[in-house]
């Protein structure tokens, strides 16, 4: 058993944990554009200070958190009824219904976001649709706005929300709801007092699975967002690739990591607890 | 007496703060069909698993055939087990399941094939050799599990609630089959059950367990006629547990009590009223409320009396068995 643990442990230790040590080391260094790599090692907190005092970066943090949170909420509001419907469907149909939810996830995210680009473009199909139904005379473009980013994140991460919700709802004993009804609870009350609390682990897992990666999203804001919406993932990318400022980019990474450590630990504990329950 | 095939010395196994098996001493002799009888949580299944090697004891020793097997892992013990759920390998057919143990031993394919065929004949499943477990009925699966264990010719076969998953009719037939096989092959069986009727009818010797301890060992007749404590008297069959003058307790079996219309000429005679009759086919069990307030169960083999009737109960002076606890 020790060998079994050691194998992935060593791999992850080298390729996952060790790199973070390097990132921290670089983050504490200073930018040295002329050397290769362009870092002068040292012990400077200037990068971190910059990230938390400069208005531009502060705004990026807040926007990222805000967009991630809102998108997670929307994904929950859409994903919960979907998961509920699948869990209540006839057992024979469930695999197919699930497969239909998961298929987009197996398709390249890039392709899917690209698909939205066409839809949301100026005079794109969404535009045409809104004009045709008379909902808006001159909608302008959706693409390039925060709306588009939200749309993109919900679209990309919806399967991540539906699957854990489904897993929890599927295990729900319908006998409990029957007992609640027998004791006089009306359908809405039964849902709020029995189903919802019991599906909480699924809700937490789903929200974390959407929120955590969304904070650092890059592709979606890059392709669907505009230049005004600066998310922290893009900051990292720009600092690294466009400005060549490795220490600053590393500092962003470290800050992101620290920010997400809490949710990450929560998610890991969730997983462990759900495994214990199955045992 | 020949050396016991199994000797347990001071065997203890704890789960957290609870001792599932608490200082058990036991000898099982070769050729016995030994039953471990008790309610749920008494430790009988844990004891069986200790014997098989799936649990390691916290204290004590396990000797099999005179050799200390206490720390030995299950695949090295000369013991085989028939699981309550049968544990048939779903990805193998019947023949492959039965031959699994022989393959692990390295037995030559030709010899293994012969032994598997023999084992299947013994349990009357020869025509099912190519079927998968999912295609078998409960009773057939059990026979496969039995054949799989027997084909290895173990010194000792452990059976975990062998009849629990079967329906009533099948249970009786299987009961007979197991006893027949055990006698014919001269094997030693140790079986665990919560059904005292099963234990009484199948075992040559049995042990009653409670709270991790063995509270009585003996032949079925001994345990029935001379239970060691109130718990055992009550657990096995029906018993009236009465206090006699002098402060002692006795166990009085219903079939030792006779019903009379008038006061019988015996020292122990009591008047009462029949409040309920449970018809069992070969006899009826009458619940009699005595005038002194006690309730007695008496056995009646005909329709002599009916509900609501006033009766007299009488029994011989030595009909009750004094209990030590």
């Amino acid at each position: 058993m020790r060998a079994v643990i050691a194998l992935p442990l060593v791999w992850l230790g080298i390729f996952f944990l060790l790199p973070f040590v390097l990132v921290l080391a670089i983050a504490l260094g200073t930018n040295a554009p002329d050397s290769v790599p362009p870092v002068a090692l040292g012990l400077s907190f200037a990068n971190f200070k910059l990230l938390f005092t400069d208005d531009l970066y502060l705004a990026a943090w807040l926007i990222s958190l805000r967009i991630a949170a809102t998108s997670t909420l929307v994904a929950l509001l859409l994903g919960y009824p979907m998961a509920y419907a699948i869990a209540r469907a006839a057992p024979a149909r469930r695999p197919l219904l699930l497969m239909l939810v998961v298929l987009p996830f197996w398709t390249s995210v890039l392709i899917r976001i690209y698909a939205w680009m066409g839809l949301l473009a100026r005079n794109g199909l969404l535009d045409q649709f809104l004009r045709w139904t008379g909902l808006a005379e001159n909608p302008g473009t959706i693409i390039g706005t925060e709306w588009a980013i939200h749309l993109g994140i919900v679209y990309a991460y919806l399967p991540f929300m539906v699957l854990p919700l489904y897993a929890t709802l599927e295990k729900l004993d319908t006998g409990l709801l029957e007992a609640a009804a027998d004791l006089g609870a009306r359908p809405l009350a039964a849902f709020l007092t029995v189903t919802l609390p019991l599906s909480l682990p699924g809700i937490v897992a789903g929200c974390l699975l959407v929120f955590i990666p969304s904070v650092g999203e890059f592709v979606i804001p890059d392709l669907l967002g505009g230049t005004e919406t600066l998310m922290i993932g893009k900051v990292l990318w720009d600092e690294f690739f466009t400005n060549g400022d490795w220490p600053l980019a590393s500092a962003v990474a470290i800050c992101l990591l620290v920010l997400l450590l809490g949710p990450l630990a929560l998610f890991q504990r969730q997983q462990a607890r759900s495994l214990e329950r199955r045992r | 007496m020949s050396d016991p095939i199994v000797r347990l010395e001071g065997l203890t196994k704890r789960f957290g703060a609870v001792a599932a098996v608490d200082g058990v001493d036991l000898d099982v002799v070769g050729g016995e069909l030994f039953a471990l009888l008790g309610g749920s949580g008494c430790g009988k299944t844990t004891l069986l698993r200790l014997l098989a090697g799936f649990e390691t004891p916290d204290a004590g020793r396990i000797l099999i055939d005179g050799k200390d097997m206490t720390g030995v892992p299950p695949h090295l013990r000369p013991v085989n087990m028939m699981f309550q759920s049968y544990a048939l390998f779903p990805h193998m057919n019947v023949a492959e399941n039965v031959g699994y143990g022989l393959r692990r031993e390295g037995v030559a394919k030709s010899e293994a094939a012969v032994r598997v065929a023999d084992a299947l004949t013994q349990v009357q499943l020869t025509d099912f050799a190519q079927r998968r477990p999912a295609q078998l009925s409960g009773g057939q699966r059990q026979r496969v599990a039995l054949a799989r264990a027997l084909v290895k010719r173990p010194r000792l076969l452990l059976l975990d609630e062998p009849l629990a998953a079967l329906d009533r009719k099948l249970r009786e037939g299987t009961r007979f089959e197991l006893v027949r096989l055990q006698e014919e092959l001269g094997l030693t069986f140790i079986m665990v059950t919560h059904d005292q009727e099963e234990a009484m009818s199948m075992a040559t010797r049995l042990a009653v367990m409670e709270a991790g301890r063995i509270v009585q060992t003996g032949s079925p007749r001994e345990v029935y006629e001379r239970p060691a404590s109130r718990f055992i008297a009550d657990f096995i069959g029906h018993a009236n547990i009465l206090k006699v003058p002098g402060g002692r307790w006795i166990a009085l079996r219903p079939e030792k009590i006779a019903l009379f219309a008038a006061r019988p000429d015996t020292a122990h005679a009591f008047a009462g009223r029949i409040v309920d009759i449970a018809y069992e086919g070969s006899r009826s069990l009458c619940r009699v409320a005595l005038d002194d307030g006690r309730t007695i169960l008496a056995s009646m083999s005909d329709d002599a009396f009916h509900r609501g009737q006033n009766v007299w109960l009488g029994w011989a002076a030595d009909a009750g068995h004094p209990l030590e606890a």
């Binding site: 643990i5 390729f15 009824p81 392709i111 990292l236 | 892992p73 695949h75 759920s85 692990r104 264990a149």
Partner: protein, 262 residues
């Protein structure tokens, strides 16, 4: 009761429409005569022929497939070990940390993983003079995050596994290794296969992590798509999208079939 289910079904329908409408449109427009995605001007397969003649795209696709096979296979082995350890190992100090390390790559923002792995490879390159960023580094990066997905699938399968089958095997004389080889492994193989397929698909589609750790020479398919897409809508991408959707559907169906048969 009825009303609630009807609402849920409506939500499900809306959800599916939301998920599939964009993809359906892209697939339809791959047959569009004109370049535009806004106007349908007639049926044509010219973009299909164009893509299949596009050398750059094809070589990128080939590179991506090779990387995906290597990383999925490596991740399958490591993920099997990790999933087995998580499901079966008794509590040991650092178990929570181990569990966290296995699962974190799955949720972590790719930019964070990207920069950290790049720095690792740069550091190693400076210290040992190699390896150059390319096939190997991309495969390593993909393997690292794929382990989490395989581990979760394996762990879930083992949690449902009937342990009495393993006990029966040992009782019949199988050593722990023989038990794993003849009983456990055959029965969890479908789950491992499903995990492999998932890892393969994710590797094929990965962009951000790849962008960080790839060298100047290596262009994977997503990288090509990205650089093309930044410039606007490209009908050849529509064709590619259609192919990817069909391949993904096929992989998903196989995976589902693997995990359904018990």
């Amino acid at each position: 009761m009825r009303g609630r289910v009807r609402f849920a079904i409506a939500a499900l329908g809306f959800g599916y429409a939301f998920l599939y409408l964009p993809l359906a449109l892209v697939m339809i427009y791959s047959f569009n005569e004109s370049r535009l995605v806004t106007v349908w001007s007639g049926f044509s397969t010219k973009w299909w022929s164009a893509l299949l003649a596009n050398e750059a795209m094809l070589s990128a696709a080939w590179l991506s497939i090779r990387i995906a096979v290597v990383s999925a296979s490596t991740a399958a082995i490591l993920g099997l070990a990790a999933g087995y350890a998580l499901a079966r190992a008794p509590a040991f100090p650092g178990r929570a940390l181990f569990g966290g390390m296995v699962i974190a790559p799955m949720v972590m923002p790719e930019v964070v993983m990207g920069i950290s792995m790049l720095l690792l490879f740069v550091g190693v390159d400076r210290m040992f003079g190699g390896p150059a960023r390319g096939f190997l580094t991309i495969a390593i990066a993909h393997t690292t995050f794929a382990i989490a997905f395989v581990a979760i699938v394996v762990q879930a399968r083992l949690a449902d596994f009937d342990r009495s089958l393993e006990e029966a095997a040992m009782d019949l004389g199988a050593t722990p290794w023989a038990t794993f080889r003849t009983i456990t492994l055959p029965l969890i193989a479908p789950a491992i296969g499903a995990g492999w397929l998932l890892a393969f698909t994710l590797s094929l589609d990965d962009l951000i992590l790849t962008q960080f750790v790839a060298g100047a020479q290596s262009q994977t398919l997503p990288m090509r798509v990205y650089s093309s897409v930044r410039l606007g809508v490209d009908p050849q991408i529509n064709v590619l999208a259609t192919i990817i959707v069909v391949v993904a559907a096929g992989a998903l169906i196989v995976s589902g079939w693997l995990t359904q048969r018990r």
